[in-house]
């Protein structure tokens, strides 16, 4: 049978989602061709603000990479814009001269940013915020210019402003209304939002209407109707979007504000459909992702001849994606003569909740500061749930938290079609049948099986409720808190370590067998953890299993995104010498290292090294491994100290070198970074290290559990000591206690919070006998360690099997 030709115009989220639905339905009908104007595969446009804010890389937001098109036999014309549709002869034409016939045609051209028709809007430095290119322009501008103005105080404008703020620009937001996000928030919520953003450094020019964009070639500022003005080197217009309908209009397809579609996403022309931001359904054009996905699901079924309920419009919700500000809004939120509201306004905690009710049905609401209940609230709004005393109590925080019966009742009321996980399009029915058919009992299992709660995690509470509802009495509510190491076992880290000790388990296979792992050889989560625990409990007897280590620890270098590696040799205390630098320079030239970079831990990183060159490079460097790749003691960062510094009260460099030499290579549950500063000015940043030392007159202060990374945390004062020996001992005891009680992957910042600083003080500082034993045990562990680079350089066998490719010969 000849396949029909399906053509999609628009390589964005709405169109591709439709195609994904078609593929899921087992596509046998269609040869698929896609045209996209942007020279990129489909990416997550919503997350552009995260890229701008520095929370994600461009690569991270690609939803379907080039391979995806190839694997699904989809022909993609990226960078080709369709400029004509011949609906009579069923042909599309592009600006690049391609002509493609179709049997069925989907238009998903999305929308274009609305550019205010102001004098000067065409000046350099005036842009919109819509695609990857705009994002790149802003990032580039931030490097050279200082002052940014965003026109538009709506969702998109505020996200752009926050991103520019993160890029160290001075940011002012111009908004025509008195209130920010006035289409999603009432005045109270809006005021709170403004106060919070001002605290973060954003400036606001409200009730201003721009009259002219000033400047010669490049923008220099804005003038407003009231005669005032503001300087600007960059102007971002984020005043709204318009459906992109030119193509449809020129092709005689019915267009109102958007391309007019019926309940099956059909336009007035046969075999031509529209989905997404370019489509208008019952007078509404949607600009958010969830409705687009709902439309795509309906259209896919229609195209595949699968019976489907008609699309009946969507209830939409909005979440502002700005760090430090939690805002949620859905449905109606402005009080009217026929509405009543439940309101909680807690200025002390910065929390505001408002739920609007009409005829005793929940019709909308706003959450600010605490959006934990957003998924539940959204379900109530979608279902127009009746306001009950139970819901009322839970909104006021009077009901017991967690999986109370109130929650279970709510999920029980949902239709199976209801989407629980908006990110991945997983419905209640999908989750319930997975729970029943596959016997799932934890949120993690549901995540692994269905993908629900995998992206943003916002629907976790609902998934938990569904589990509770589906399993009834079997549901172990305590079990939610207790997370197993990985899907291979229900046992927790602590339970596994206890079993290794009590049952004297000494091999990985033995652990898996005795503790009844449900997989034969574990997985990438439990294998490295078990390898660590076995080595920690039996330092002398256990032979490290290289194959259970993550690639970086296996080849003793950091893998990079392109498959090359980086090499960081150890420089004790961050001190080097002309001779060492010369060797590094020679090696870098000889092996054409792509970049030499100074690391945060005061060392040098040689980037872009191919794997087979690693052993030679190590040999020629003649320096030990810096362990920059391992869950182990990494570096001890130091300040200059009393040797040179006029403020230094202690020899911080020597202390750092001594600590690093003593504890280098030590395996720990997660990486350990240390620092020594010679005075409270703290130039080595000891306050945000796993263990940080601060020299004071006549002694040293020891801080623990600090973190400068994901979980930014200030270290707590463990104790104050007088001598070098005491510093080394307290450090050793602390490290060993962390090694013995920390969970694999748990940084000290989390560990200190879990155990409590006072408890750690008692064990490490107060209990002198206990400290002695901890130090004895750490000495045994340290005695086993050798420099891995040297070991590999000397072992031709490992070099061959681990670092060299196989030479095949033809038969």
């Amino acid at each position: 049978m000849n396949k029909k030709k399906l053509v999609l115009i628009g390589n964005g989220m709405a169109g591709i989602n439709t195609i994904e639905h078609i593929l899921k339905l087992g596509n046998e009908r269609y040869d698929i061709t896609i045209f996209g104007s942007e020279p990129h595969p489909n990416y997550n446009r919503i997350l552009l603000s995260s890229v701008l804010a520095g929370n994600a890389e461009m690569d991270d937001i690609i939803l379907n990479n080039w391979n995806w098109y190839e694997e699904n036999n989809i022909r993609l014309y990226a960078g080709h814009t369709v400029n004509r549709i011949d609906t009579e002869n069923k042909l599309v034409y592009t600006d690049t001269g391609v002509c493609e016939p179709y049997d069925e045609l989907i238009i998903a051209t999305g929308s274009v940013p609305f550019i205010l028709p102001l004098p000067g809007a065409d000046r350099e430095g005036v842009i919109a915020f819509r695609d990857i290119k705009d994002c790149e322009t802003m990032m580039e501008a931030a490097k050279r210019y200082k002052k940014a103005v965003v026109i538009g105080g709506g969702l998109l404008g505020l996200e752009a402003a926050k991103g520019l703020l993160n890029l160290n620009m001075e940011v002012a937001v111009v908004h025509i209304s008195d209130y920010l996000m006035e289409r999603q928030l009432d005045s109270t919520g809006s005021e709170m939002l403004r106060a919070e953003l001002e605290r973060q450094g954003m400036k606001f020019l409200l009730s201003r209407q721009t009259e002219e964009i000033l400047g010669d070639d490049r923008v220099t500022g804005l003038r407003f109707k009231d005669g005032t003005s503001v300087e600007a080197d960059l102007v971002v217009m984020a005043v709204g979007i318009r459906p992109s309908v030119q193509l449809a209009r020129a092709s005689d397809i019915e267009v109102n504000r958007g391309i007019v579609v019926n309940d099956y996403m059909e336009t007035n022309r046969p075999h031509v459909y529209a989905v997404g931001e370019c489509a208008e359904h019952q007078g509404i054009v949607y600009g958010l992702v969830a409705p687009l996905y709902e439309q795509g699901a309906v259209l896919a079924k229609r195209l595949c001849g699968v019976e489907t309920a008609p699309y009946k419009g969507s209830v939409i919700s909005t979440k502002l994606k700005v760090s430090g500000v939690d805002v949620f809004s859905a449905g109606e939120f402005m009080d009217g003569p026929d509405t009543r509201s439940i309101r909680i306004h807690d200025e002390w905690n910065g929390v505001y909740k408002k739920v609007l009710v009409r005829n005793n049905r929940i019709i909308g609401g706003v959450l600010f500061g605490d959006t934990n209940e957003s998924s539940r609230l959204f379900q109530w709004i979608r279902n127009r749930a009746e306001m009950t005393p139970k819901i009322h109590a839970s909104l006021l925080g009077l009901a017991a938290e967690g999986n109370g019966s109130g929650g279970a009742d709510t999920v029980a009321d949902l239709d199976n079609e209801e989407i629980i996980c908006g990110c991945n399009g997983v419905s209640k029915g999908d989750i319930v049948s997975a729970i029943q058919e596959k016997g799932l009992t934890t949120v993690d299992e549901v995540k692994g099986c269905t993908g629900a709660s995998r992206s943003c995690g916002g629907c976790k509470p609902l998934v938990t409720q569904l589990l509770g509802h589906a399993l009834g009495d079997e549901f172990d509510s305590a079990g939610i808190q207790k997370e197993g190491i990985c899907p291979c076992t229900p046992l927790t880290h602590d339970e596994v370590v206890a079993a290794i000790r009590e049952k004297q388990l000494t091999h990985m296979r033995e652990v898996m067998h005795v503790l009844e792992w449900n997989t034969e050889e574990g997985c990438s989560k439990c294998r490295p953890a078990l390898n660590y625990y076995l080595g920690m409990v039996w330092p002398e007897a256990y032979a490290d299993d290289r194959n259970s280590r993550f690639v970086n620890e296996k080849v003793h270098a950091n893998i990079q995104k392109d498959g090359t590696y980086s090499v960081v040799p150890r420089m004790y205390g961050g001190v080097t010498s002309p001779e060492e630098l010369r060797r590094i320079a020679d090696v870098a030239e000889k092996y054409q290292v792509r970049m030499i970079k100074v690391t945060g831990g005061q060392r040098l990183d040689l980037l872009g090294v191919s794997k087979e060159n690693l052993p030679q490079i190590w040999e020629e460097l003649g320096m030990p491994s810096g362990y920059a790749y391992a869950k182990a003691v990494r570096t001890v960062k130091t300040c200059v100290g009393e040797t040179f510094c006029r403020f230094g009260t202690q020899d911080s460099i020597q202390m750092g070198i001594d600590m690093e030499k003593k504890y280098e290579r030590l395996n720990t549950p997660a990486k350990v970074k240390m620092a020594v500063s010679a005075c409270p000015r703290n130039c080595a940043e000891s306050g945000i290290k796993d263990l940080g030392i601060v020299g004071v007159d006549g002694g040293w202060e020891i801080f623990v559990g600090g973190n400068g990374g994901v979980n930014l945390r200030k270290g707590g004062l463990l104790c104050k000591v007088k001598t070098r020996e005491e510093v080394l001992d307290i450090t050793g005891a602390y490290l060993q206690y962390y090694r013995e009680t920390g969970q694999y992957g748990e940084r000290t910042s989390e560990w200190v919070e879990r155990m409590g600083l006072e408890h750690i003080k008692r064990v490490v500082v107060d209990d002198k006998e206990g400290r002695k034993l901890l130090l004895q045990r750490i000495d045994i562990a340290l005695a086993q360690l050798v420099d891995p680079w040297e070991e590999i350089v000397r072992d031709a066998g490992i070099r061959e099997t681990m670092f060299e490719e196989i030479k095949a010969s033809s038969l």
């Binding site: 391979n67 050889e521 997985c523 990438s524 294998r527 194959n547 196989i806 030479k807 095949a808 010969s809």
Partner: protein, 110 residues
């Protein structure tokens, strides 16, 4: 099918992968704990991660870049992710590992 001699089975360490280049293809060859040898394209369909460097468990490998789990027998990426990698037939003859490349394809890429 064009056949290539990879070498003695001992040249492949158990539970890990090694890379071989044949006709401009980069192929990862794995010796599993049960003695079987499997070969797949050394490129994760997600972001091109080098699969030979991944942790091998049973007949699965976990991509070292973003932990996609891939069945080495049929090349299928495991749920909830999707995609697949090309697999290549492997024979074990008297302790020697032989890898096959389909001829038609060999001609195209060569």
């Amino acid at each position: 099918m064009k056949r290539y001699r990879i070498g003695p089975i001992e040249s492949l360490p158990v539970q890990t992968g090694r890379v071989v280049y044949i006709e401009n293809r980069e192929i990862a060859v794995f010796r599993l704990s049960n003695g079987e040898v499997q070969a797949v394209e050394n490129r994760c369909p997600h972001k091109g991660g080098p699969l030979a460097e991944g942790i091998v468990s049973g007949n699965y490998v976990f991509c070292p870049l973003h932990d996609r789990k891939i069945n080495l027998k049929d090349g299928l990426v495991q749920k909830p992710d999707i995609g697949c990698v090309r697999t290549y037939p492997v024979e074990l003859i008297e302790g020697t590992v032989i890898l096959g490349i389909p001829v038609k394809e060999a001609a195209i890429s060569g």
